[in-house]
């Protein structure tokens, strides 16, 4: 179980390879990678966070996921700072004995990261910089867990 909050880019493929190396008790590994999507006109995404609380909030969410789905392991990486379109924002990896648990835990972690980890996205376009508004659907997504 690990949490990494960093401004540096990371390589999702290398993370996936390192994550499950040399283990034979894992049957299913699910990964989610969030990428800065260019909907047209996006020049950059700036991500602000709350150092200290971020790591603590993510670790708490991971402990809950580990227990609820009997995970063998999980990893959350989340960047902050300046990101260009096409760059990776964050990644979640879960490992379990069976696929259902690995999928559910990954979706649970994503839903919590969206609304409960202290990150704030700001989109920079030619027209200026705008804080991304939280979506009702993201808040609603928490209710399924």
């Amino acid at each position: 179980m690990a949490v990494r909050v960093q401004s540096d880019p990371f390589d999702p493929g290398a993370e996936l390879t390192a994550f499950a190396a040399e283990r034979t008790d894992i049957g299913a590994v699910v990964s989610f990678t969030g990428v800065v999507r260019d909907d047209g006109g996006l020049r950059a995404m700036e991500i602000e966070h709350y150092p200290g609380m971020t790591e603590k909030a993510i670790a708490e969410i991971e402990v809950e996921a580990m227990e609820r789905w009997g995970l063998k392991d999980c990893l959350v990486i989340h960047r902050f700072g300046h990101l260009a379109p096409g760059e990776q924002i964050m990644m979640v990896i879960t490992a379990a004995g069976h696929r259902g648990d690995a999928f559910a835990a990954a979706e649970f972690l994503m839903d919590y990261l969206k609304s409960r980890a202290p990150f704030w996205k700001c989109e920079v376009t030619d027209a200026g910089a705008d804080w991304v508004a939280a979506k009702d659907e993201d808040e609603d997504a928490l209710n399924r867990w």
């Binding site: 200290g52 609380m53 603590k56 989340h78 964050m90 202290p118 990150f119 704030w120 991304v132």
Partner: protein
């Protein structure tokens, strides 16, 4: 003395990311009322607290929570991680 932190557009409106505040407020809402009384920029930042979230010592909390024993309080908009 309590450390007060501001993030995202709350930080931008107030023009500060962190300050130390001397307060006798008993709850978060009491502190917010004191801050709003200070200056227009605080009034603007806290105009609609339903659009804000608060964390006490790095744990999400509520505006009616007591401040006793709290060392660090943070105000910010709903999170948009992931």
């Amino acid at each position: 003395m309590i450390d007060v932190l501001y993030f995202a557009w709350v930080r931008e409106r107030i023009g500060l990311s962190k300050e130390k505040v001397e307060t006798s407020a008993e709850t978060v809402a009491g502190l917010v009322a004191e801050l709003k009384a200070r200056e227009a920029r605080y009034e603007a930042a806290f105009a609609d607290v339903s659009a804000l979230r608060v964390a006490l010592d790095q744990e999400l909390s509520d505006f009616d929570a007591p401040l006793a024993g709290v060392r660090e309080i943070a105000f910010f908009p709903p999170m948009t991680g992931g």
